[in-house]
């Protein structure tokens, strides 16, 4: 009986070690991927806020084109950053369950921000004002695929 208890106890210790070790490794990798895409989302948020301040004339428009160019590249970064399909962070499970729809929305985001950047260079503020709302569809995607803040 004593040796049975020892064996069970031994198994329990091994199980505890295994349970703590495996998720630790998984968490370390996942955390990197989540931190990475969160840095991209932070950049998108910051550049969008600044573009908004320019369009609402709070800030002069010297950097107008620069912000649109940054947003176009950041959209590409964002698209790639989700390809690892690592759940967690602020991503809802629906993102992975409806990945084809999510991907389509990211494709649109990349295409429309690229179009806005190319147009901004030629047409300036009036063109940006026209293209901004259809290009920066952040909320539509966040409502579906981001955990509520």
């Amino acid at each position: 009986m004593t040796s049975f208890v020892k064996i069970v106890g031994g198994f329990a210790i091994v199980a505890v070690i295994a349970a703590s070790a495996v998720p630790f490794v998984a968490r370390a990798d996942d955390k990197d991927a989540i931190d990475y895409r969160e840095n991209i989302m932070k950049s998108l948020d910051a550049q969008t806020a600044d573009l908004g301040m320019i369009v609402s004339t709070q800030i002069p428009d010297d950097n107008l084109v620069a912000h649109t160019k940054a947003l176009a590249i950041l959209a590409k970064q964002a698209q790639k950053s989700f390809e690892s399909k690592i759940p967690g962070g602020d991503a809802k499970p629906e993102l992975w369950a409806n990945y084809a729809d999510f991907q389509k929305r990211m494709d649109d985001f990349v295409a429309k921000t690229a179009d806005m950047a190319a147009s901004a260079e030629k047409g300036g503020m009036p063109v940006v004002m026209e293209k901004m709302v259809p290009a920066l569809t952040c909320k539509g995607c966040h409502d579906l695929y981001r955990v509520k803040k």
Binding site: A33, D35, Y36, D50, M53, I73, Q77, S81
Partner: protein
């Protein structure tokens, strides 16, 4: 004559309505928020660039991060020109404006070179230029308030 007077009065009225919107100076809080957003972008993109080199993020995104760093550096150069005190800026920014301005110009030029090198030769070609381009700490130590812990 009456018509001319009416026209002139109309023009003056229109000018009075539109002029303040165009030439009004930005509110100091807006200027500070605006440049903080650019600094947030720089911090997040520098972290993401490092992640691509450490195998924590897609290696092919290195160039995309270098490109955004170059754009954000050019934005930062403009964002400080209204010379609005406050935020995380130490008084030294304004007291030693020539040195600060020189450092910002170098930052913009060196990150632009980093991005061009990455576009042409990828991360391997650009990596040796990283340290010389991302001189964030050197400037922050002199010109940014210590971060609150």
């Amino acid at each position: 004559m009456t018509r001319l007077l009416q026209f002139a009065a109309g023009l003056a009225f229109a000018a009075a309505l539109t002029l303040p919107a165009i030439v009004r100076a930005s509110e100091p809080d807006d200027v500070i928020e605006y440049r903080k957003n650019i600094m947030k972008t720089l911090g997040a993109q520098a972290a993401a660039l490092n992640a691509t080199l450490q195998g924590k993020a897609p290696a092919e995104s290195f160039t995309l991060h270098a490109q955004v760093l170059a754009i954000a550096a050019s934005e930062a150069l403009i964002a400080f020109t209204p010379k609005v005190e406050g935020g995380d800026s130490k008084p030294e920014v304004w007291a030693k404006w020539d040195d600060f301005s020189k450092k910002m110009k170098e930052f913009a030029a060196n990150t632009a070179d980093l991005a061009k090198t990455a576009e042409a030769g990828g991360a391997a070609a650009a990596q040796p230029k990283m340290q010389g381009a991302l001189t964030c700490k050197g400037c922050h130590d002199t010109y940014r308030q210590p971060l609150k812990k």
